[in-house]
């Protein structure tokens, strides 16, 4: 394999047509011959590479290529699924047989089945998600080296490195079902990341930064990524301990997106029909301040999570999930929608670009000034989010704020509260959103949470 130009690896995968549609049609036809009521097939193929360097030397060069095919059949409202990584005919036949066999032992559920034929996507806007990166192995290595080097040179306290990496990936996937629907998507994703260690007499601290985009020209420069990683690692040095007690908490954008993920998780059909969501029955209810909305925009060009149809072939549409603080839509697949006697929202497989809209976006110093005295959260640790009842308790690394300015970094502390109170308590939103991320949100300021630290009450 000549590995001079790496885009050769990813580019062919991004073309549409070829053998995949034919394979899907063959599988659906074979399923019909077995007498099933409905069948669906998804096939994905991807390839890419990643190059990691550490302390100025190449560490690993990895070449990826992935294939998978999933088949689901429905027979008398019974569902069976099977998947394989082998696309040869004999293996696909066995996979279909396995799905069919499982459906025989599953029990009927009238909510099972394909999404309604009328909802299948008819419009396929150009999303501009494919752009192979014409870069040589040598150049890719140089970029990764430059990234790490810029970070290591920034500050004498940067003593060690976990390395920098560059990766590029291209993939296509196809979904077809026995309504006759067939849709294909393809996309590329490129990224550069770096993790560095800073040290002082109290020990080592690690932080990282990365840039990721559909097109290489939308990436931040490699050096900028390294410098940002170094700045973040150094900023963690000199941690001190604030007192235990309630105070305002500012979630930086990278952790604010997780907070919004808790809302969309709790509004997803799977949790709702299982009675496992603290937002069950919340349609129309006020859960956030009226100056805030959460919007899904699936058709944004070059965006991380754009798609014209969901994993059931249903057309995706722009919609409010929370409008002026009120829950405007759940996030449903056809199955969860039937369970709730509603219609699918085109969210089988998840959300396609989530945006937090506010009537005002503040800059960082205004947010800190508004906070006065409190905690900035840079990193969250642990899984202490209970979506059944909204209880929230996580480990934190970040900064303590006094008199509206950063006073010192903090670690070994926790924040706790309940998501219902936290969402209603949103006091301000920052202007620092990164439009390349799948969740676009600035920092989020919450009026009060309980902070536990090594210092007793």
């Amino acid at each position: 394999m000549p590995i001079n130009s790496l885009d050769q690896l990813t580019a062919p995968l991004c073309e549409t047509g070829g053998e995949l549609p034919h394979l899907a049609e063959t599988i659906i036809a074979a399923a019909r011959r077995k007498g099933v009521d409905a069948a669906e097939v998804s096939i994905s193929k991807g390839a890419g590479y990643s190059i990691s360097v550490r302390m100025g030397e190449v560490e690993t060069t990895e070449f990826h290529q992935d294939v998978s095919c999933g088949i689901t059949v429905y027979s008398n409202h019974c569902k069976g699924s099977a998947s394989t990584s082998d696309l040869r005919a004999a293996s696909l036949d066995e996979t279909l047989d396995a799905a069919y066999d499982i459906a025989r032992y599953a029990q009927p559920d009238t909510c099972h089945g394909l999404a309604d034929a009328a909802l299948m996507a008819k419009e396929f806007p150009e999303l501009d998600l494919v752009s192979a990166w014409p870069i040589s192995l040598n150049h890719a290595t140089q970029l990764a080296l430059a990234c790490e080097d810029a970070g290591r040179r920034l500050d004498a306290r940067i003593v060690n490195s976990e390395g920098a990496s560059l990766s590029s990936y291209g993939g296509r996937s196809l979904y077809a079902n026995s309504h006759g629907f067939m849709g294909e998507t393809s996309g590329t994703s490129h990224s550069i990341g770096c993790a560095l260690l800073a040290e002082d007499e109290a020990g080592m601290r690690r932080d990282y930064w990365y840039t990721s985009a559909r097109r290489a020209e939308l990436l931040d420069p490699a050096e900028t990524v390294g410098v940002r990683a170094a700045e973040r690692a150094v900023a963690r040095l000199g941690a001190a301990t604030p007192p235990t007690g309630p105070c305002p908490v500012l979630f930086e954008p990278e952790v604010a997106s997780g907070l919004l993920g808790s809302i969309t998780g709790a509004l997803s059909g799977g949790l709702l029909y299982r009675h496992e969501s603290f937002l069950e029955g919340s349609l129309g209810e006020v859960i956030m301040p009226a100056w805030l909305s959460l919007v899904e925009r699936p058709h944004l060009a070059r965006a991380a999570a754009s798609a014209s149809f969901d994993t059931e072939g249903v057309q995706t549409r722009d919609k409010y999930i929370v409008e002026d603080g009120r829950v405007a839509s759940y996030l449903l697949s056809s199955y969860s929608a039937r369970r709730l006697a509603m219609e699918t929202t085109g969210n089988a497989g998840g959300i396609h670009n989530l945006i937090l809209e506010a009537n005002e976006y503040k800059n960082r110093s205004a947010l800190l000034a508004q906070m006065g005295r409190g905690l900035v959260v840079r990193e969250l640790m642990g899984q202490g989010v209970n979506l059944v009842n909204g209880d929230y308790s996580r480990g934190v690394a970040g900064f303590w704020v006094e008199n509206g300015v950063i006073a010192y970094p903090v670690q070994e502390i926790t924040i706790a509260g309940n998501l219902r109170d936290m969402l209603k308590g949103i006091a301000a939103v920052g202007e620092d959103a990164d439009p390349r991320r799948r969740v676009r949100t600035g920092s989020i300021l919450i009026d009060s949470m309980m902070v536990a630290t090594p210092e007793s009450l």
Binding site: R54, S83, G384, A416
Partner: protein
């Protein structure tokens, strides 16, 4: 035990255009003068899962995957490529791509193969073939009915069954020629209890390298149902957890996730070779109270984290990590053992052929101490008794780790008095281990549901510990 090797080799190569001599030929294709070691990892895996929800067998799925990972190592450099297709024509270019880290040239040397011949540490029987679908489905229905019968407040029951049969074959230019057959099963029971509009969840489960019928023996699956129901009902009564530093007594078994996070990850050889762990360069120093002896043991029979050989073909072993508080050594794979100039501990693991191996834990636990569990509780005037946990996480560089309780009690005057809501506990690994002041005589291993994630790769693991007391750890509750 060459029988295991023969079975594994047949599983991996059956129906392909490869035999052992063609595999050796491919391995030679990985070698170049600057390549220290070349490796081919063959894997074939079948997975079956069933899900019961709301009293019905909702869905099942069956997955087949297989492929080969080709790795070439030169000093600290690694070249890696993999294919989903076990075939000569796919593998040939993959070996060339992996070798590209070294300048091409005449082939390097492959040592004479030495077939590994360890004894089995678990059954090789295929759990997917062991019971038919009708019997499996009946078992799930029974568990569901039993869980519902335990209390009218149980409004929702989910029962999941997962079985995997994996075969691997490893050829390495250092002469390694190994194969293994690894069954793995797991059952999870999740319930929701409701009372006066309040809803709480309870989860329990177990498994290991066994056949599915093991779940029926000694009513194990009923025990999982009882435990899930007990937890959900208990949490209906839970009050807000306190906030701030306080003594914490950790129950036996699964709370060993403390060791996994607080010390285990920090002792993995890759971090220490690079000097990025809070434990780097600390072998021979005291990193825990002298009551603590922590081991990683791949050789336990039938356990979820057990490995007869690791994913590089090195026999699994028992490694003492901390003895009486003193750090003894790190967990290594071949690459990091070589670079650390240490022995390889057989901890080279990978999620699949499409991932690179790295040092990972197997079954990690603390050896028992002298105290009765009741004595330990009695010693605490006010604190937390944490019996069950969800997951944990660690920042190996600073040593900061967290884990979240799913069953915890307030201790008042030496007795657990009332359950408290889930809270995150946070600490710095070495600090917390130094504050272990009492260790119980009741070592217990977890029931077999653990999954460990590192750099995007998941592998099954086990944890365990006796009851133990940490004098001071931060509890992330909401109560003043």
């Amino acid at each position: 035990m060459s029988e295991i090797f023969e079975t594994a080799a047949e599983d991996c190569l059956d129906g392909t255009d490869l035999d052992m001599s063609r595999c050796e030929n491919l391995l030679a294709g990985l070698m170049a003068p600057e390549v220290d070691a070349g490796e081919l990892f063959f894997q074939r895996e079948r997975q079956l899962s069933w899900l019961l929800e709301e009293g019905k067998i909702k869905e099942g799925s069956f997955a087949v995957s297989g492929g080969v990972g080709a790795r070439a190592m030169s000093g600290e450099k690694t070249g890696f490529a993999y294919v989903d297709d076990i075939a000569w024509d796919s593998l040939k270019p993959a070996t060339a791509a992996a070798r590209a880290i070294a300048r091409s040239g005449a082939s390097g040397r492959v040592a004479g193969f030495e077939k590994e011949s360890g004894e089995p540490i678990h059954s090789l029987s295929d759990p997917i073939a062991g019971m038919n679908n009708e019997q499996r489905v009946d078992m799930l229905k029974r568990v569901d009915a039993y869980a519902r019968s335990l209390d009218p407040r149980i409004v929702k029951v989910t029962v999941g069954l997962h079985a995997v049969q994996e075969s691997i074959l490893v050829l390495c230019s250092d002469g390694t020629l190994s194969g293994d057959v690894r069954p793995l099963i797991r059952m999870n029971v999740g319930v929701i209890a409701e009372q006066n509009g309040r809803r709480e969840r309870g989860n329990a489960g177990g498994g290991g390298r066994r056949e599915i019928s093991w779940l029926l023996e000694e009513h194990r699956c009923d025990q999982f149902a009882r435990e899930a129901v007990r937890l959900a009902l208990l949490n209906l009564e839970a009050v807000d957890a306190p906030a701030g530093p306080m003594p914490v007594v950790l129950g036996p078994g699964w709370p060993g996730v403390l060791l996994h996070e607080a010390v285990g990850h920090g002792l993995e050889g890759d971090f220490n070779r690079k000097g990025t762990s809070a434990f780097s360069g600390r072998i021979g120093t005291k990193v825990a109270s002298s009551l603590c002896t922590v081991v990683d043991d791949a050789t336990l029979a039938d356990r979820r984290g057990s490995l007869r050989i690791d994913d590089e073909g090195t026999p699994g072993q028992r490694t003492v990590l901390i003895e009486n508080g003193v750090l003894q050594g790190y967990l290594t794979d071949k690459l990091n053992a070589k670079l650390l100039q240490a022995d390889c501990t057989g901890n080279g693991r990978r999620e699949s052929y499409s991932h690179l191996p790295m040092p990972r834990m197997t079954n990690t636990f603390m050896l028992p101490g002298a105290h009765e569990p009741e004595e330990i509780l009695k010693s605490v005037k006010r604190g937390i008794y944490a019996v069950n946990f969800g997951g944990g996480q660690v920042d190996i560089t600073s040593g900061q780790f967290v884990f979240s309780t799913t069953e915890a009690w307030l201790i008042e005057d030496g007795r657990p008095t009332c359950p408290v809501k889930g809270a995150t506990l946070i600490g710095m690994g070495a600090d917390v281990m130094q504050r272990v002041s009492m260790v119980g005589n009741d070592l217990k291993l977890d029931s077999g549901v653990g999954v460990c994630g590192k750099e995007g790769q998941s592998v099954p693991v086990g944890v365990g510990q006796p009851t133990l007391k940490v004098d001071d750890i931060i509890v992330g509750g909401t109560a003043h």
